[in-house]
Amino acid sequence: MMDLAHQAGALLLAWFTLREYMAIRRGAVTAIMGPSGTGKTTLLKLIGGQICASAGTIMVDGQNISELRIRDLYELRKRMGMMFQSGALLTDLSVYENVAFPLREHTKLPESMIRKLVLMKLEAVGLRGVRELMPSELSGGMARRVALARAIALDPMMIMYDEPFSGQDPISMGVIVSLIKRLNDAADLTSIVVSHDVPETASIADRIFVISEGQVIEQGTPDALMQSQKAWTYQFMHGESDGPVPFHLPAPSLASDFLGEAE
């Protein structure tokens, strides 16, 4: 298993079965896409060790998540950043304090140093000017950018994005799309983006895994997946309403339903 991880140059490997695995390359933006309720967020929680896998193995940087002791897991999490769908900012702290929070918790840096780091991180997401605001005063897009600044506060090796584009107006969507790409390249991060917004994700991802019901349906570069011959992938990537995932959910025939026979 370790050999395989080495070969692939992967930071993270997720085994579902012995034959099927997901290898996420260091330094790349990897997208995990699939319809709602298919286990994308669950996968992120598994990677972060927030829930335990009932089967399969997840290796992050050579360490098996489910076999780690709590202390080692927390140590590993310091090197992982995560941006939640809602931002998950601490509502009783200001923007500045939110970004400073991981630094204060995990380092013994002097206040002047923390200030410089926080301002640098906020500058990177373009929100240095709103550092005194409270999270409730931010728009959804701004809250996510602050969350992003907080996620990179400790300079992690990887960062996970949970549905970063959902419910955003076009401008803040564009901002977040370019931020993810820029940060990934500038800070030498490994990014995992979980999303179902096809065009935005395809524009920045180096590699996409399409999953459904806990299975990897197909993987490849965005272009390859766009031209995929697989009916399921085609339907998903092009947003067709009918295909392998039917428009009509199973139901008795229309005639018998109208006549009341189905009751």
């Binding site: 927030q50 927390y74 999490r77 995560m82 998950a88 991981p102 918790e105 969350a147 907080r150």
Partner: protein, 259 residues
């Protein structure tokens, strides 16, 4: 058959909940050091849980004491025993009403707020966020609140009793023209510090642990939706009230059984 199955399921769910609550209790106790590492968290919570509950506790105490004074006076004066009014008010407040009513009010005022706060933090992924920042939410969020509750409750109960005694004093001396010297000297002579006051403090300490534990557990265990949080808040108040009244009976039997 279905009914038996449902009964069994409820029993298992109940025991599982108890197990999770016990697990949380232990984890909070094991992380007690954190309140010394982050004393500002504790003082902040002492303010939110304790100081902000002062008004409702003091006002309720005043009225409970006044009502006790009135009712006590009506009955005692029939037997020409109104000299004992002070003792009646003070004993019932210090032994029973102080700890119990304070705990019930605390569950309604501070307990429900704790549950809603923790539940909402869970619903808005703040607790998950802390975990992913390698910060233990039990340690950082629950422990200061837990100990703030434990410290606040006995103090609030003492305030309740003290204000209540003044309420009784106001009615018996101010309103009914009782003798001021008799009122205080009878209290001094017949209310025992160890037997009455200390036992009352022990009671409110136990209620403090129970109510805060229930409130925090319900918030931490809540279904992370708006409906889930509102249900958890209701459960906090109901469970706390039942636990307080049940425990009070047991403790009263143990403490004052040989009177």
């Amino acid at each position: 058959m279905k009914a038996i199955e449902a009964l069994g399921r409820r029993g298992i769910d109940f025991l599982r909940g108890l197990g999770r609550a016990g697990d949380l209790f232990l984890r909070m106790l094991l992380n007690v050091v954190d309140i010394f590492l982050h004393p500002r968290e504790l003082t902040g919570q002492l303010y939110a849980v304790g100081v902000l509950s002062l008004l409702i506790i003091a006002v309720s105490g005043l009225f409970v004491g006044m009502v006790l004074g009135l009712q006590g006076y009506y009955i005692l004066s029939r037997f020409a025993a109104d000299a004992m009014l002070g003792v009646l008010v003070a004993t019932s407040l210090v032994r029973e009403l102080g700890p119990v009513v304070t705990a019930l009010l605390f569950a309604g005022r501070a307990g429900s707020a704790l549950t809603a706060e923790i539940g909402l933090m869970k619903a808005t992924e703040q607790l998950s966020g802390l975990e992913m920042m390698a910060v233990n939410p039990v340690r950082r969020v629950l422990v200061p609140r837990f100990f703030a509750g434990i410290i606040s409750m006995p103090l609030l109960a003492l305030v309740f009793s003290a204000v209540g005694i003044y309420g009784g004093y106001f009615v018996s001396v101010g309103l009914m023209g009782g003798d001021i010297g008799t009122f205080w000297s009878q209290i001094e002579a017949r209310v025992d510090f160890r037997h009455d006051v200390v036992n009352g403090i022990i009671k409110s300490f136990v209620f403090g642990v129970t109510c805060t534990w229930i409130a925090l557990f319900q918030g931490y265990d809540a279904t992370p939706t708006s409906e889930g949080v509102s249900r958890a808040t209701t459960r906090t108040v109901v469970h706390s009230a039942l636990a307080v009244l049940g425990l009070d009976f047991v403790m009263t039997a143990l403490m004052f059984g040989d009177d």
